[in-house]
Amino acid sequence: MTLLALENVTVKYHRRTVIDGLNWQADAGKIYSIIGPNGCGKSTLLRTIAGHLKPERGTVRLDGRPIGSYSRRRLAQHLAMLQQSQERLPEITVRTLVGYGRFPHQPLWRGKRKEDEDIVEWAMAQTGVGHLADRRLSALSGGERQRVWFAMALAQKTRLLLLDEPTTYLDMSRQWEIMELIAELNRRHGITIVMVLHDINHAAACSDEIMVMRAGAVYAGGAPERVITAQTLGEVFGVDARVDRDAETGRLNCVIRGLRETADGPDRVFNLRERTG
């Protein structure tokens, strides 16, 4: 079942066309990763899906309805988004922050609602931050904080979760913990995930489908095996990559050996300039 559909979406940001006539679909219950070089419009795409940016042309549909027809509050009941980086942290406890995830569901005159409290506890348990509930955000490590923000998004109880580089600033094992958390949420609760990732191996290991973006458009989309090839990585990122399978896990394994060295080296530099200019 199609949960999310982007039809001919064009987004301008500061008068620059960042996304240009993009078409894409996502089915309910799957994990999607979006990869692409810096500045290709990944984060902009995610913010457009979340309704934070209005497309210049085209439509983003959630459950067949244009997201523009949802009120902000209603949209927040259907999709949650985890920001790439958080600004200054408010001086509040973990439980309070996770509790804000219930904001879109609460009536204007909120009293104590048992239901909300239960969901907050559930969200903290799912993300493994239950033991931190009464700590202040400033007293947490980077990995713990990221889990707490996850818990807040989870407390929104949405079917669609948008994640903008959820593993940035984390060390290797924390990164994998987050990836496993994402897979777990998807498996257990059927939450559809659309995320922007930088690490190709993370994307390959966890996603049902990968969408490769280049210059504001879809370059390729589909199952990881089909999309992640040495050729794609070469053309989109300009790197010399080797893609094989891990003998034990059967997962795709990309090794980046360096920048792509081609006979048309000067050409590539020229292309880059053209794209950024």
Binding site: A76, Y100, K112
Partner: protein, 333 residues
Amino acid sequence: MIGNPARGSVPGYGLAMAALTAAALLGVAFGICTGAVRISLPEIWMYLFQGYDGPMREVVWNIRLPRTLVGALVGANLALSGALLQAVMRNPLADPHLIGVSSGAGLFGVIVLILFPQMWLMLTPAAFLGACGAALLIYALAWRDGVQPVRLILAGVAVSSFLGSGISALLIFFSDRVDGALAFLVGGLSAKSWPELVTILPYSVAGMLAALCGSSHLNVLALGDANARGLGLPIEAVRFLMTAVAALLAASAVSVAGLLGFVGLIVPHMVRLLIGGDYRVLLPASALTGAAVMMFCDTLARMMFAPVELPVGIVTGALGAPFFLYLLRREAK
């Protein structure tokens, strides 16, 4: 309770609020007792509630009590206004000056006092108009697909200094008539009585109610624009409404008492240090603290150099600035 920053410390909040209420009541008592004639607490009780007719009844009923209460409301409005603006701008340096309330009220007030002194009755409405007009102008100038706090702050600084130069020009050109204008620019509660109380009270009540209604939204706004939007908060509407409430609160205060400085800036800060950042508690606590601080400062202003009375604006500035510097140094550590 959802959104309670310190579950389990609700008694702590209750205690803090009780302490602040006590401080405010103490401020009222202190304000009525102190003056050219000292009046003891039992006497006040008699004059106020037991219908005693003494020579001092007049002093208590028509001079000290209303003046103290006007001071309380002015302080509460300014502090609440500052707390709201700090929340809306997510900037600890935000205060009613920033949205042009002071410079607007100042310019219009000075125009009335200097150019049309015979129309001094119009001082309060004119100052109110100037304050709201300046706030609206700044908000409109900062608007571009919604208002970003930084742009609002910059527009506020620019418009305020523009209006400020108008005030300076008037003071220079009519240097023979500046006496009344100066007192207004410094801010004071001298000779304030029941009419001023009636002017300001509706704003205090409505402002407090509106602020309490918006407090949960301000808590969500404190998470940053992107997070707040993701949680379904209509951030532009919340920002506009809360700025408007803050502007009205501050405008009603300065149009009655003149340009009192620092209360709107330091009181919310002080309260934040005391009880944390949950706006559902911070806002009423700021109002209470503002009231208490203003009453104590005004009483000090009356008795320090008695029988000469200082404008309370000098006292709040003189006590507020060092305290603010102390807070800054503490925060830097």
